[in-house]
């Protein structure tokens, strides 16, 4: 529900393939140390990967809840096979936890139950948000593509609803039936040997002029740049933003959460946080262009932004 005070921090699902112990230990540390209130977890990108994390889900959920985190289970972004349909159905039927819908099958099955909507479902306006809220959605993490004007418009139109923005991490930009990641290593999706696990932070794809551009993450294509909205949140918070999502990268997410928390609490300013984030997640370009109605890869610093009269 909307807060009049400070927004909550939420940790999105790990989009990458991490082996079971790495995945488990990541969440154990989040439980013990991270300043996040909500954690959404579970394989979201590729159903073939599910057996890596599944054996550890119960102990991870238990540890997170013992630490006072609110746990939500994520559903698959793309469902085409009967076993994928079954997985989503079972997850929703059996879960004692709230579920985050990331495709239309989950939206249908969740009708009448409190649930969340993930950033991979197209919610571009309040009419859509209201339609989903009427079916039981209580929180919507908006797609990374949305400009600030659209977000503010939705916050104003639905002041009592909980909206969340995707504020840190490589942005999910596309998903395909074809696995470009496996393909780049001479394999196909059906015989992939889980080679996407070799790049726990994504496989960089550069242009022929050696420009950093995208990363491959199995069937998902993500931005090479990491979205960083830490210095852009104030006007959205003022307009009633409820949650701020951090999407796990292979860096110290406890520190990332701490920096976002401190900015939201007014203890440090955004510029200082950005300088520290560059040390926590080195060698990665930051972006916030979508929010500023520019190309998503762009970086708009607040100083320049104000000078140009943008919001």
């Amino acid at each position: 529900m909307a807060t009049t005070g400070k927004p909550a921090l939420s940790l999105g699902p790990v989009y990458f393939l991490w082996d079971g112990p790495k995945w488990r230990d990541f969440y154990f540390r989040i439980a013990d140390e991270a300043a996040v209130e909500h954690v959404t977890l579970g394989e979201t990108v590729c159903s073939k990967r599910q057996h890596f994390s599944e054996p550890h889900v119960a102990e991870v959920v238990e540890r997170l809840e013992a630490a006072g985190k609110r746990v939500t289970l994520s559903t698959l972004a793309m469902v085409t096979l009967p076993r994928e349909s079954r997985h989503v159905r079972d997850l929703i039927a059996d879960s004692l936890h709230p579920v985050e819908a990331n495709d239309l099958s989950a939206l249908g099955l969740l009708k009448g139950r409190p649930h969340s909507i993930g950033p991979l479902v197209n919610v571009y306006n309040a009419a859509t948000a209201r339609t989903l809220a009427a079916r039981g959605a209580e929180n919507i993490c908006l797609p990374p593509e949305l400009p600030a004007g659209s977000i503010r418009q939705m916050l104003e139109a639905m002041p009592d609803f909980s909206f969340e923005v995707f504020a840190f991490g490589r942005m999910p930009l596309a998903i395909s039936a074809r696995c470009a990641h496996a393909r780049s290593k001479g394999l196909t999706k059906d015989n992939c040997q889980f080679v996407c696990g070799e790049e726990p932070d994504g496989l960089p794809l550069r242009t022929l002029d050696r420009q950093s551009f995208l990363v491959l993450n199995g069937v998902q294509t993500m931005s090479n740049s990491c979205v960083v909205l830490v210095d852009d949140l104030a006007p959205l918070v003022e307009a009633g933003l409820s949650r701020v999502r951090l999407s796990p990268q292979d860096c110290d997410m406890v520190k990332v959460a701490s920096l976002y928390r401190r900015v939201l609490d007014g203890r440090i300013d955004g510029e200082e946080a950005i300088a520290d984030l560059a040390k926590v997640y080195p060698g990665v370009r930051f972006s916030n262009g979508f929010l500023h109605r520019q190309e998503g890869a762009a970086w708009v610093s607040r100083g320049r932004n104000a000078a140009m009269g943008r919001d």
């Binding site: 793309m78 469902v79 085409t80 009967p82 994928e84 159905r89 495709d103 239309l104 099958s105 989950a106 939206l107 249908g108 009708k111 197209n122 571009y124 306006n125 009419a127 859509t128 948000a129 339609t131 079916r135 949305l146 004007g149 659209s150 977000i151 418009q153 939705m154 139109a157 942005m171 930009l173 596309a174 998903i175 395909s176 039936a177 074809r178 696995c179 393909r183 780049s184 196909t188 059906d190 496989l203 794809l205 550069r206 242009t207 022929l208 050696r210 420009q211 551009f213 995208l214 491959l216 294509t221 931005s223 262009g289 979508f290 109605r293 520019q294 190309e295 998503g296 890869a297 762009a298």
Partner: protein, 325 residues
């Protein structure tokens, strides 16, 4: 199976009707549809006349309003829906849930088709669209094999339309912001992908370089045929290897699968290409219409003719064949 044909102009619309289309799909000249290209699409008056022409020839008109409504500017999409309904469109092709809810509530008798941009790829998703918005038909995203489609149609109470010929999205449609990541303009929000306004060709020594926004999408050596820099059909570098990371510059052609698609319970085949000229539309529509009625043996000659029309003369059956994955 019905043949659903594209029209980007009233002239192409007439050609499609004459060439044997069962339905023609088109959109208004603005960002309410996913082919919002300069010089393309229909004014209100042009669409009114086109629908009247189609009616006389017993051809249906589907109006695509398949972008996502910009928050605060929903009126643009609502009035497009109001006008299309008032003009007698046989179906509206929609992607945005908010717009679907508006049409379902205000015009419960209006046929609602779900655009490929909504990415409904499984039985539960389609049941949701039928239950929530009364969808009568869903255009399937190009992520399914023919076998997947056959299994799907048995489980739903909704017609299925699939893409058969023309441009090919490599990514699940409606779920791709690659274009806006590079240019700020996307199919979902602006109705464009890899827009010409952001395309530049530059000579670099002997190479011709194609760029989209700030990014190099391809580099063509001397004598190499150059192509439009559609982002997902570009050449990139992964590790030390250069190549078409997502897909080669090919187009979709599943004419060889016509019988399998019919057996799979598909109601309609869709031709991509509202950005194409009227001659292309006339040729493709008439050839496909003949192919639909021909025996598999007779089809070969028609297919050869069609292949010559394809982008770069190279085609793929895409996701319809499992090996594509």
């Amino acid at each position: 199976m019905e043949l659903i044909c594209p029209a980007g102009t009233p002239a192409a619309f007439r050609e499609a009707v004459e060439a044997g289309a069962d339905a023609v799909y088109c959109g208004f000249r603005d960002e309410t549809n996913a082919r919002n290209f300069p010089g393309l699409n229909f004014s209100r008056e042009e669409l009114r006349q086109s629908i009247a022409l189609a009616r006389r020839k017993k051809v249906q008109t589907f109006v695509a309003l398949n972008t996502f409504m910009r928050a605060g500017d929903e009126a643009l999409w609502y009035s497009a829906a109001d006008d299309a309904v008032a003009m007698g469109a046989d179906a509206l092709i929609l992607a945005d849930f908010g717009l679907m809810a508006y049409v379902a509530e205000k015009y419960p008798q209006q046929r609602l088709h779900v655009s490929v941009q909504a990415s409904a790829s499984n039985p539960e998703a389609i049941r949701f669209l039928v239950e929530a918005f009364g969808a009568k038909r869903v255009v399937l995203p190009r992520v399914l094999t023919v076998q997947d489609i056959a299994r799907l149609t048995r489980q739903i109470d909704c017609e299925v339309e699939v893409f058969a010929f023309g441009g090919l999205c490599v990514m699940a449609e409606g779920r791709c912001s690659l274009s806006s990541y590079a240019t700020g303009k996307s199919p979902n929000m602006n109705g464009v992908c890899s827009p010409a306004s952001h395309v530049r060709y530059r000579q670099d020594g002997a190479d011709l370089v194609s760029e989209l926004g700030a990014y190099t999408i391809n580099r063509f050596g001397p004598g190499e045929a150059s192509g439009y820099p559609t982002l997902c059909k570009g050449r990139f570098e992964i590790g030390d290897v250069e190549g078409y990371a997502f897909e080669d510059p090919v187009s979709l052609d599943v004419i060889d699968e016509i019988d399998a698609l019919r057996a799979a319970g598909v109601s309609a085949l869709k031709i991509e290409g509202r950005q194409r000229g009227k001659a292309y539309v006339a040729e493709v529509v008439s050839s496909l219409k003949k192919a639909l009625g021909a025996s598999p043996g007779e089809r070969a000659a028609l297919v050869a003719r069609l292949r010559a029309m394809s982008e770069g003369q190279r085609t793929t059956t895409g996701a319809y064949d499992k090996r594509w994955r």
